[in-house]
């Protein structure tokens, strides 16, 4: 297939990766107070790890690169212990293990992610306008 929109593969890969990152961040924010997950333990903060992937291209030693989500990692930080006797998940000393999630850090990550998303949308828009001007060659 001819590729009219240059670099659109990189852009769509990035939009996909950033969308995954936003999903994971919203999951972290949603579970900021979850003390009891399906495994009986408090929720563990997750984060995405990005990696670059080379896209095969003819006649070129270096080609455009795509971004992919390599993996979603669990944060290994220990849970925060809060004194809440009477809570169903409290231990014998009355301490409840809650996820160590910093809401400000999550919000900052969310903003960074949505800015990257917007920048990639701008690239898609530009690729489109360049394709349109290429299609108009020879018209008058």
């Amino acid at each position: 297939m001819i590729n009219l929109l240059t670099g659109i593969n990189s852009t769509s890969a990035a939009l996909d990766a950033e969308r995954t990152r936003m999903d994971v961040i919203s999951q972290n924010i949603a579970n900021v107070n979850t003390t009891h997950g399906p495994d009986g333990k408090p929720y563990q903060r997750q984060q995405v790890v990005f990696e670059t992937v080379l896209r095969a291209q003819q006649n070129s030693d270096l080609s455009a690169q795509e971004v992919h989500v390599a993996r979603i990692e669990k944060d290994s930080r220990p849970p925060r212990m809060i004194y809440m006797p009477g809570h169903p998940d409290a231990n014998d000393k009355g301490m409840v293990a809650t996820p160590d999630i910093n809401i400000h850090q999550e919000m900052a990550d969310l903003i960074a992610s949505s800015r990257t998303y917007e920048a990639n949308l701008a690239v898609a828009k530009n690729a489109r306008s360049m394709a349109m001007s290429a299609l108009s060659i020879g018209k008058h």
């Binding site: 240059t6 990189s10 690169q65 990257t116 920048a119 690239v123 530009n126 360049m130 060659i137």
Partner: protein, 125 residues
Amino acid sequence: MIDALFNQPNYVATKKMLDVAVLRQEAIASNLSNLETPNYKRVDVAPSFEAQLSQAVKSGDPTQIATLEPRLAVDASAISGRSDGNTVSLEDELLKMNQNTFEDAMETQLISGSLAKMRLAITGH
């Protein structure tokens, strides 16, 4: 015979510059897509290409211009201002993209212009 009409050095050079604009758009797409990837180094059209093109244009030989091949290379001049070793700057990249779109528009107009002149020469209107 008709080939000679499309073999003027300026026309061939503009076509080449259009290829460069498309390749640079691809590089910028790659850079912005890896904005948050640790240790990613920004890519751009190899700086040696500009020198080669200006030399080929000076020689006035269209085949020499046509055989030039723009390539992507890691931008060695980009400095990382971030702790993750990534050398992409969002603002720089968006500015370069806008500049590139204007260059692309200018080059398509130049090409359209030379085609229109050719049509004028053939048909007289």
